[in-house]
């Protein structure tokens, strides 16, 4: 893979060949689930790490020097007594702590066997990765870092580890799960520990959490699992990594408390995501249902459907020691007690951020692209009316999908394309699996629109847009599953079109500009823009679209199809961002809150869609709306008001307008100064 070869120097190695995947459900379909759940489970933990009971762990955390410093500090600040703070610590710890018990793991293993067999055709796991993990677990504390697309993620990983005699992990989970009756407790005993959302500036909470996590890492009795993206991605695209947990798990290495830490990126790919429709509605502003046990029971109807296969790709275990070589000076802790609460140094922050981004990138590279995701890319490039009214010709979709398959392979993507079956069968069965989104009727493909219960009054045009939006956003999410494969060449293709230049430096400036504007949409490793650009050039050359030299990038005649596909792939993002820029530049908008911004933009976008001015429905996605705000904040075109409690922002219209103008070619690319990388 081209992309991975560039990071070999940082100790990372991509998996050169698509590994042998093994279906772990196959055995479950053949033998007793009960026997499986009660078999001898004899994992080999990190060498020398004795098992650690919940009580021992909590005691170690409570008695830590770090928390005792913190308790004193906080008692001083708040005027309460150290004892009171200590009590608070106990409370937090009780709410947080996992209570891993083998009995519950067995019960979960039994239940999950039943559930998984019903939901999935197969759960495919790369054995090579699993074997390496098995080895790694014995050598250093291991951090499992899966991407997060579904609630199934962590259940599946614990299930697989149990199946292969690897110590089951303790898992950082969101506190809402803990609130579910029974389920919260079951998860706790299966190794989940619970973290509050929006910890913000709660110093004591941060302190307890970080000491808890660090103690688990230091002791090494079980792998720690957490989502570096922080949240479940509503859009099936990678999210900007969160750095808090990453700091906590890495610190024991920085401080020499462990010899090394092993990071294991895990890429989970779903043919069909259980929560697909829920996610689309959330994006449209229908709030996420509160996690509750009854809600879970109601959701049992999802158990009736088929969700195809799930691929779990365990990445090559990465040594933090090797990755951080030359990036972190461990002597920085020589002159102060290591337990003393301290802000991480700039060097440590940069290193942690880089590692977190790198992990996301490796997760992306480990994903398997499904035929459906390629089809979604193609479907979204058809005009909406075609999808809803005229229908897209079946053979056209087939042809285009096959064309895209070749391009994806050229770009080094790993495809999940069944080999022994004729392509037409693959496409038919894919469409059949996704009957919730598209339907095939008489040689054409149509978008499935929601069957609303009949209403008394006819639906308004605005409601019509929202109804249409749900399946389109679902489609967009599935397209997003393969965006990471195309995004760099797509940005270069866009740069070529917008700048109309062949000069490499001009293209590079615009490429960097796009990376900056879309840095919340697509994840790039900070400071690696030149490599990203180089990669884009190499890939476009590989598929015959361009030729390039030290100074120039020349478009080839044969490249127009690829380039226009790639440009069109990025277009919905550009168009949606422009809508939001337009809103921000409107008269009367000076200070706005997130709460106002979301519905206002939704209204404007609806209006523009109805008037035919806007072709994409993605501007309706609340995720994208939030991403715009974050990007503008980082580009300093909006600033958060310090005094504000409700996330209020002040808009610098000139700056927003300028960004919009560059994006739409109103400012010539020559005028574009390379913005210093603001993401570092």
């Amino acid at each position: 893979m081209t992309s991975s070869s560039q990071y070999k120097d940082s100790g990372r190695a991509g998996l050169e060949d698509v590994d042998e995947f093994v279906d772990i459900l196959e055995e479950r379909r053949r033998s007793s689930d009960l026997g499986y759940a009660f078999r001898t489970f004899n994992p080999q933990p990190y060498k020398g790490a004795p098992s650690c009971s919940t009580a021992d762990l909590n005691k170690a955390v409570l008695e830590s020097q770090y928390l005792s410093y913190m308790a004193k500090e906080i008692a001083m600040e708040t005027g309460s007594s150290v004892e009171e703070v200590r009590e608070e610590v106990c409370g937090i710890l009780e709410e947080m702590s996992q209570n891993l018990q083998l009995g519950f793991i067995r019960m979960m293993a039994y239940t999950l066997s039943k559930v998984f067999k019903r939901l999935f055709t197969s759960i495919l796991v790369n054995m090579e990765g699993l074997n390496m993990l098995q080895q790694a677990v014995q050598e250093s504390p291991v951090i499992l870092m899966p991407n997060h697309r579904s609630y199934m993620d962590f259940l599946a990983i614990s299930y697989i580890l149990f199946t292969y005699d690897i110590p089951v992990p303790v898992i950082a989970a969101g506190i809402p799960l803990a609130g579910m009756k029974m389920v919260g407790e079951i998860l706790r005993r299966s190794g989940a520990f619970f973290i509050r959302r929006a910890i913000g500036s709660d110093k004591l909470y941060w302190a307890v959490l970080s000491e808890y996590v660090k103690t688990i890492v230091r002791r090494g009795f079980a792998p720690v699992e957490f989502y570096v993206e922080g949240l479940r991605s509503r859009t099936l695209k990678s999210l900007l990594p969160k750095l808090g947990m990453m700091h906590m798990v890495l610190e024991p290495f920085f401080k020499g408390e462990v010899y090394d830490i092993t990071l294991v990126p895990i890429s989970i790919s779903y043919d069909r995501v259980l929560e697909e429709s829920l996610l689309a509605h959330e994006l449209l502003g229908v709030p996420k249902p509160k996690e509750s046990t009854t809600g879970l029971l109601k959701a049992t109807k999802v158990l009736q459907e088929n969700y195809g296969s799930m691929h779990v790709n365990f990445g090559r275990p990465l040594s933090v020691r090797q990755l951080c070589h030359g990036k972190i000076n461990r002597c920085q802790f020589n002159l102060v007690p290591r337990d003393l609460p301290q802000q991480p140094s700039a060097e440590a922050q940069a290193c942690v951020s880089w590692l977190a981004h790198l992990m996301v990138r490796i997760q992306e590279e480990g994903l398997l692209i499904s035929p459906w995701s390629l089809m979604a890319c193609m479907l979204l490039q058809a005009p909406t009316t075609v999808l809803t009214e005229e229908g897209l010709l079946w053979h056209q979709l087939t042809e285009k999908t096959l064309w895209l398959r070749k391009l994806a392979l050229d770009f080094g993507a790993r495809l999940n394309w069944p080999g022994q079956v004729p392509d037409s069968d693959v496409i038919s069965s894919t469409v059949a699996l996704h009957c919730s989104v598209v339907q095939r009727k008489a040689g054409r493909v149509y978008l499935v629109q929601e069957n609303e219960p009949l209403r008394k009054c006819p639906i308004s045009p605005e409601d019509g847009v929202i109804r249409m939006a749900a399946p389109l956003l679902m489609l967009a999410s599935y397209r997003n599953q393969s965006m990471h494969v195309f995004v760099r060449p797509a940005m270069l293709a866009t740069a070529i079109r917008v700048t109309e230049s062949t000069q490499r430096d001009e293209l590079f400036s615009f490429f960097c500009f796009l990376q900056d504007v879309f840095s919340n949409e697509f994840i790039f490793i900070p400071g690696k823009s030149p490599q990203d650009f180089e990669e884009a050039c190499v890939l476009l050359k590989k598929c015959g679209a361009v030729n390039f030299s030290q100074q120039e990038v020349m478009v080839l005649d044969a490249g127009s199809e690829v380039l226009s596909f790639l440009q069109a792939l990025l277009q919905p993002f550009i168009d949606s961002y422009q809508v939001m820029f337009r809103y921000l530049c409107e008269e009367g908008v000076h200070v706005l809150s997130e709460k106002q911004f979301l519905p206002a933009v939704r209204n404007l976008a609806t209006e523009l869609i109805l008037s035919g001015e806007l072709c994409t429905y993605e501007a309706l996605s609340s995720d994208m709306q939030k991403n715009v705000l974050s990007a503008l904040r980082r580009l300093e075109a909006v600033t958060k008001l310090r005094a504000s409690e409700q996330n209020e922002y002040r808009v610098n219209k000139a700056a927003v307008r300028r960004i919009g103008d560059i994006l739409s070619r109103k400012i010539p690319p020559q005028m574009l100064q390379t913005t210093p990388d603001a993401r570092l």
Binding site: G256, Y259, R330, C331, D339
Partner: protein, 612 residues
């Protein structure tokens, strides 16, 4: 004041020397030395290995290890467990031998570059000197692995061009004056036990290099019983100093592991530390007065006040100067009455963590015995392998019983347990009281008393362990030890990380067999501890084993520094660890030391290029 008979004897010897002095060649100097070290050390000591020529480990025809000679408790004994341990630990094989070049060939030694005018003037002073190949080669090295390895291969690099043997302070003054006058490079040489490349001649040195061997300055000049001090010439080696003081009922209590061979001047020049520093202190605590000859003249204090507030202590420019400023000639040292009672002891802990926790507690309560050392599991096993053959069935039965008690009854995992060795000193009653206190603390950390024998053997081994390296080198195994000091809270981390780093680096560098990577905590302080690492591996299959060894040691040192350890606790910097000095003492610190050097020795007469 008590003028000792030794003085008289030495004076007499001096007279003999003087009579024979202008003669240069071997064999012509006949004097019977009072000290252990004769002029021509190679007559009783190995020229390419550790210690006395008559004492060495070997595998006899039956394949059993034995230790030759008569000097040590282990001498003449069979060590039945060593072969299995050796083969098992290193993957070594008694069939695969790597014997050393048996004899030093004079042709391998570069010819001496003599400064004729200097030689003439030295001759006229009557101070003995030599430019024999053997004498010069012997003083061209310490005991770093690469130095000994090269000697065994018969490879000789730059060596001193000449050796001089001053026999008193005034001789040194004369030599230094002449060296300055004729611009020759002087390198002080004491016991030759350096492990920091300090004795290596700088290859870039173009002047004639003269090794100034202090071994004949070995007298105790006086003992002051009122103040409990002794004034001693700096060339005396540890064992002679103790023996002679013991004859008068005193001791210094300074016992570095090298005390058989290392000299008082060397201790001062490297800031040495002794095993029993908990009672007697390290060298900086022991010296009351130092006299050093420098190119600018003699430096010394005007009185023997026990502490002074007279600006920065000039002794601290001298201690640790590693021969870069001058020659230490005479030292006034504290002495103590010989202890009435000594008792060894040992404690077994279920694991290293508990052992360290116990040592930390002992340090906290400031009740450390004269010596307390904690060996990790690998060293415990090593120590076990060095048990000599037991004569009676009863002893072996007892040993079996002990093992059963500890591993089966107490449930200690033989692959995790570790042992602390103890030495108590003082009056009998207090020792017993002290012993109880320490064992009570140990019990709180799961420690079980494991007998005097184990303790005593542990200390005896410190003297023979250096001989073992030579045995290893006969069979493709090379190794070395190095040390550091580190705050208490980092002891466990540094031990784990450095050992792991060594193993990892060996693997990465292509070492075919798992290395021995082990450590022990050898000294406790209020705020930290001294940690010793031992590292050895089987180098079969490597084309440049010494280079691999050096790379691994370098990486291990980096790891030590990254884990908050010091560059050295007592071995010194020499040339081996120079590259880290600036980071260790800061730019200003370097500047300070440099300016001292520039003032004291502007022409770099003491040109061994250590330290800076």
């Amino acid at each position: 004041m008590n003028v000792l008979s030794t003085c008289a004897a030495s004076a007499c010897q001096q007279a003999v020397c003087r009579a024979l002095c202008s003669v240069v060649t071997k064999g012509n100097i006949v004097g019977v030395p009072v000290g252990t070290h004769p002029y021509h050390k190679f007559e009783i000591m190995k020229w390419n290995g550790w210690g006395y020529s008559d004492s060495r480990f070997l595998f006899n025809k039956k394949g059993q290890a034995e230790f030759t000679g008569k000097r040590y408790r282990l001498s003449g004994m069979i060590i039945p467990g060593l072969k299995d341990w050796f083969e098992g630990t290193f993957g070594a094989n008694l069939q695969h031998k790597t014997p050393p070049t048996p004899l030093l060939t004079n042709t391998a030694v570069p010819p001496a570059t003599l400064n004729e005018a200097f030689v003439e003037e030295v001759k006229s002073t009557g101070i003995p000197f030599s430019h024999d190949a053997e004498d010069r080669v012997f003083r061209a090295h310490g005991h770093c692995l690469h130095e000994i390895f090269a000697l065994r291969e018969g490879k000789i690099g730059r060596v001193p061009d000449m050796v001089v043997w001053p026999s008193c302070h005034n001789d040194v003054v004369k030599i230094v004056q002449l060296a300055c006058k004729h611009n020759v490079c002087l390198m002080p040489y004491g016991g030759g036990t350096s492990v920091s490349s300090a004795l290596e001649c700088p290859p870039e040195e173009t002047r004639s290099i003269v090794s100034l061997d202090t071994s004949q300055m070995n007298r105790i000049l006086w003992i002051d019983e009122k103040n409990l001090t002794a004034h001693v010439e700096a060339g005396i080696v540890g064992q002679d100093l103790e023996r002679l003081l013991n004859e008068s009922g005193y001791c210094t209590g300074h016992e570095p592991d090298s005390m058989e061979f290392s000299s008082l001047g060397g201790w001062v020049a490297t800031r040495a530390s002794g095993m029993k520093k908990n009672i007697y202190g390290n060298i900086e605590d022991l010296v009351v007065h130092i006299k050093m000859v420098t190119p600018q003249g003699v430096i010394e204090k005007s009185c023997q006040g026990p502490r002074m507030s007279t600006g920065p202590d000039i002794h601290h420019f001298i201690m640790g100067s590693e021969g870069t400023l001058g020659v230490v000639t005479e030292v006034t040292m504290k002495i103590r009455p010989m202890p009435e009672y000594q008792k060894y002891g040992s404690v077994v802990f279920p694991n290293f963590e508990q052992g360290v926790a116990c040592l930390r507690e002992v340090a906290k309560q400031r009740c450390a015995p004269a010596s307390i050392r904690l060996m990790d599991n690998e060293q415990f096993k090593f120590g076990h392998a060095l048990k000599p053959q037991v004569s009676s069935i009863f002893t072996s039965f007892l040993d079996g019983l002990k093992k059963f008690y500890i591993t089966k009854f107490k449930g200690f995992d033989p692959n995790h347990l570790c042992v602390a060795t103890l030495l108590f000193e003082g009056n009998r009653e207090k020792v017993l009281q002290h012993e109880k206190q320490v064992y009570d603390i140990a019990a709180k950390f799961g420690g079980l008393a494991a007998g005097e024998d184990n303790g005593q053997r542990g200390y005896m081994l410190t003297f023979v362990i250096a001989y073992l390296r030579d045995l290893g080198m006969d069979y493709y195994v090379i190794g070395e030890s190095f040390e550091t000091s580190v705050p208490w809270d980092r002891v466990l981390d540094i031990c784990r990380n450095v050992k792991a780093r060594i193993i990892r680096e060996c693997k990465d560098k292509g070492v075919q067999f798992p290395p021995l990577s082990t450590c022990r905590v050898t000294q406790t302080y209020d705020a930290g501890a001294c940690v010793y690492f031992y590292f050895a591996f089987n180098y079969r299959g490597l084309s440049d084993p010494v280079h691999v060894y050096e790379q691994v040691e370098h990486a291990a040192r980096e790891e030590i520094l990254a884990n908050g350890g010091s560059l050295s606790h007592h071995h010194g910097v020499g040339k081996l660890r120079k590259e880290w000095m600036r980071d260790t003492i800061s730019n200003v610190g370097m500047g300070m030391l440099k300016s001292v050097k520039d003032y004291v020795d502007p022409n770099n007469i003491f040109g061994n290029r250590n330290l800076l």
